[in-house]
């Protein structure tokens, strides 16, 4: 209990600090008026200097959205969102810039230390501007690492990889964006995706040309160039024939946002023989001890294995948010294509997680693999919801699903909701599910060998999720491991 209190206090202090640092000061003219209307959509589009077709696309989505109702089937519970009481556009707010890490709350630094994030990166993430020169630059451009970013840019350019904010891509590569945007997640797909289509703020665009293996993990790039993309993020990644790219979204560092509602859309397309590996580490603010103030994370992520022999793999580590509602999915259209979903979802305190995946087998001999590890602590609820379907033409489709849940304490819940539909008799689907409580005997064994109770929980949980952690890019696997331990602090004893 003491540790929970500590965490809560820490978060509270962070709150106070951000307020003190002027987090709330906004330049009104950079904000769309409150509420959602056609004017809001036009405002956003104009702010971004978008071509007419883009505005039309947004407006169509907006009109569609008006006719839709919010889904309520997920096992999550939250107060009704007043969509007219939200802001839909505000220019990215520069963090308060500071002279050195000495000015940062030692508790925040401690969290970074626990995560093992090098101090230089902490400076960047916390917006430290080094004293030389009086430059006051936004977070994503601060650092001396600008030079590193530039080197990366050069390398990507040489390889022919296009990697830029989607708002820029809309202007610079309209033919590519028009060709692919909304083809995986149609504007009409679901309530939150439609909303996103109307008002998306920014996000990433990646195009890897035929035969090119992206010369770096795009995660590496991101780490030093974290962008404030706002609450309605839109990402589009295309791997052309035989191309490969690994992309990491998010950050282990604690993330806060005054925007409570986040509704992102991510679309992936792989052509023949191409592969996309998409990893997410998400550590949004989960809310205070009563669950108030945390982020609502309603995300639509979908990959389309359009070409034969192509592959899409989703790996996610979800530790944050008050409410998470996301189902990264794969449409296995090409013959012999493969979809993978590896997930670690941790819920503590009052968090509610409803996550899972959909594997839609359309092509012949398509295969998919789902490994889901849910960990529930505190009074949280953690649901895995998975759909595996095989179309009539998907002869020889195979799926393997393993869902394991680990409960810490006896006030939390884990639920597994698998849906399976095979429309042809040659499809072979295997499903395994286990739910277990963290064993007192195992914890005591660790503690007898000198580990504290919390270290013991961290160790056991990390063992439980190992299969999934191994899927992450190396440098993040180590941090994710620490993040898992941190997010379970105070969950036992």
């Amino acid at each position: 209990m003491a540790a929970v209190q500590e965490t809560v206090d820490r978060v509270r202090r962070i709150d106070v600090d951000q307020y003190r640092y002027g987090f709330e000061t906004l330049i009104e003219s950079d904000k769309a008026p409150k509420g959602l209307s056609e004017d809001t959509v036009r405002f956003i589009s104009a702010k971004k200097n978008e071509p007419a077709w883009m505005l039309e696309w947004r407006l169509e989505a907006y009109r569609r959205w008006l006719t839709m109702t919010e889904p309520n089937w997920a096992r999550v519970d939250y107060p009704k969102i007043d969509y007219q009481d939200l802001y839909y556009y505000s220019a990215p707010k520069p963090k308060k810039t500071i002279g050195s890490l000495d000015e940062i709350d030692p508790d925040i630094l401690e969290t970074y230390k626990k995560l093992g994030i090098p101090l230089r990166e902490v400076e960047v993430l916390e917006g430290v501007v080094r004293p030389e020169g009086e430059r006051r630059i936004a977070v994503d451009a601060v650092f001396d690492s600008v030079s590193v970013a530039t080197t990366f840019q050069k390398e990507l350019k040489q390889a022919g990889v296009i990697f830029m904010p989607i708002s820029e891509a809309i202007r610079e590569h309209p033919e590519l964006v028009r060709k692919y945007l909304g083809t995986v997640v149609p504007t009409s797909d679901n309530y939150f995706a439609t909303l996103n289509s109307a008002v998306f703020s920014d996000g990433s665009f990646v195009y890897v040309p035929p035969g090119v293996r992206c010369p770096m993990e795009l995660s590496t790039y991101f780490r030093i160039n974290e962008r404030n993309t706002g609450q309605f993020e839109r990402t589009l990644i295309i791997a052309d024939k035989g191309a490969y790219v690994s992309y990491l979204e998010g950050c282990t560092a604690p993330q806060r946002d005054e925007n409570q509602l986040h509704a992102a859309v991510v679309e992936l397309v792989t052509h023949v023989d191409a592969e996309i590996k998409y990893s997410t580490v998400q550590n949004w603010y989960p809310g205070n001890s009563e669950g108030k103030g945390g982020i609502y994370n309603f995300v639509t992520k979908r990959g389309d294995c359009r070409g034969n022999n192509s592959k899409i793999s989703w790996t996610q580590v979800e530790t944050g948010s008050a409410i998470t509602w996301k189902y990264p999915s794969c449409i296995l259209r090409g013959d012999n294509s493969r979809g993978e979903f590896y997930s670690i979802a941790i819920s503590n305190g009052h968090q509610q997680v409803d996550s899972g995946t959909k594997m839609i087998h359309l092509g012949k001999n398509t295969t998919s693999r789902i490994i889901s590890k849910g960990i529930a602590a505190g009074v949280s609820q953690n649901t895995y919801r998975g759909l595996v379907t095989a179309h009539r033409k998907a002869t020889g489709a195979r799926n393997f699903t393993a869902c394991d849940s680990l409960l810490i304490g006896d006030k939390c819940g884990a639920h597994t909701v698998p849906y399976i539909e095979a429309k042809n008799s040659s499809a072979l689907f295997e499903h395994e599910a286990t739910t277990s409580k963290i064993s007192e005997d195992v914890l005591f064994y660790c503690v007898q060998r000198g580990l504290s109770q919390e270290e013991a929980v961290g160790l056991v949980v990390n063992g439980f999720v190992k299969d999934v952690l191994q899927q992450l890019p190396m440098e993040f696997a180590v941090e994710a491991q620490k993040l898992i331990s941190i997010s379970l602090e105070g969950s036992v004893g």
Binding site: C446, G450, V460, G463
Partner: protein
């Protein structure tokens, strides 16, 4: 000063008293054997010394090198040198044995204010101890006790004991499940750790183990108490006549 002094210990589990005023004193360099029928409270005693939750101490005290052990959390007891080799070592899937050993050793060292072992030093140490216990390297890469045979689990306990260098070793039925050869290797491992400033409490049902690990004292437990203490010949006596004679004494 004694390493361990258990004085008139009374322990309850779920409202039921299991230990009814047990006393035991163990000095540095000594090896004590505890024998007794199933359910007499041997494991309970070892758990209470190690600080396992779920036991309520309703009377008496336990001193470790003169300090009140009952006030310390179990991880503190560990870092101060209390080691319990479990009767049933648990499995920890996904945690490589090597990782576990290192995490535990460094946690203990940190708690004592000592520096962490460097990777090469640590590896060197583990490898030499593992070799002496016939523990193959690939076992160290596997999850802690996952898929280990009964004998391998016990050897893994001795390995940890050798690595952590505790001052009090409690071995709860380390002989159960071991074949003769494995028993000899494990016993050799234990004997190698005998030293003038370390004490051991060896819990067993069989006199056979005591041929390999020769105790200085033997105690007979029955119904939650020590009912008779003596030298190593007491074990032989028990082997011949069984526990029945002590049941009444309890």
């Amino acid at each position: 000063m004694s390493i361990l002094e258990v004085k008139n210990l009374q322990v309850r589990v779920e409202e039921r008293e299991i230990l009814h005023g047990l006393s035991l004193t163990v000095n540095p360099g000594e090896v004590h054997a505890i024998m007794g029928p199933n359910g007499s409270g041997k494991s309970t005693l070892s758990h209470v010394i190690a600080g396992k939750p779920g036991y309520e101490v309703t009377g008496g005290e336990i001193l470790f090198k003169g300090e009140n052990l009952l006030e310390m959390s179990p991880d503190v007891r560990s870092s101060k040198g209390v080691f319990l080799a479990f009767q049933y070592p648990v499995e920890i899937p996904g945690v490589a044995t090597m990782t576990f050993l290192r995490t535990a050793l460094n946690a203990q060292r940190k708690a004592r204010g000592e520096s962490e072992f460097s990777t090469p030093d640590f590896l060197k140490k583990v490898r030499s101890v593992a070799a002496s216990l016939n523990i193959p390297q690939d076992m160290l890469r596997r999850g802690v006790n996952v898929g280990f045979s009964g004998g391998e689990k016990k050897r893994n306990e001795i390995l940890q004991m050798a690595l952590f260098e505790p001052s009090l070793c409690i071995l709860d039925e380390m002989d159960s499940g071991l074949d003769i050869d494995a028993l000899r290797v494990a016993a050799d491992g234990v004997n190698a750790l005998r030293s003038p400033d370390r004490a051991m409490v060896v819990i067993t049902h069989y006199q056979r183990l005591l041929n390999y690990i020769v105790p200085d004292f033997v105690h007979v437990m029955s119904k939650g108490k020590v009912v008779k203490s003596g030298g190593k010949e007491l074990a032989l006596e028990l082997e011949a006549s069984g526990y029945a004679q002590f049941e009444d004494a309890a």
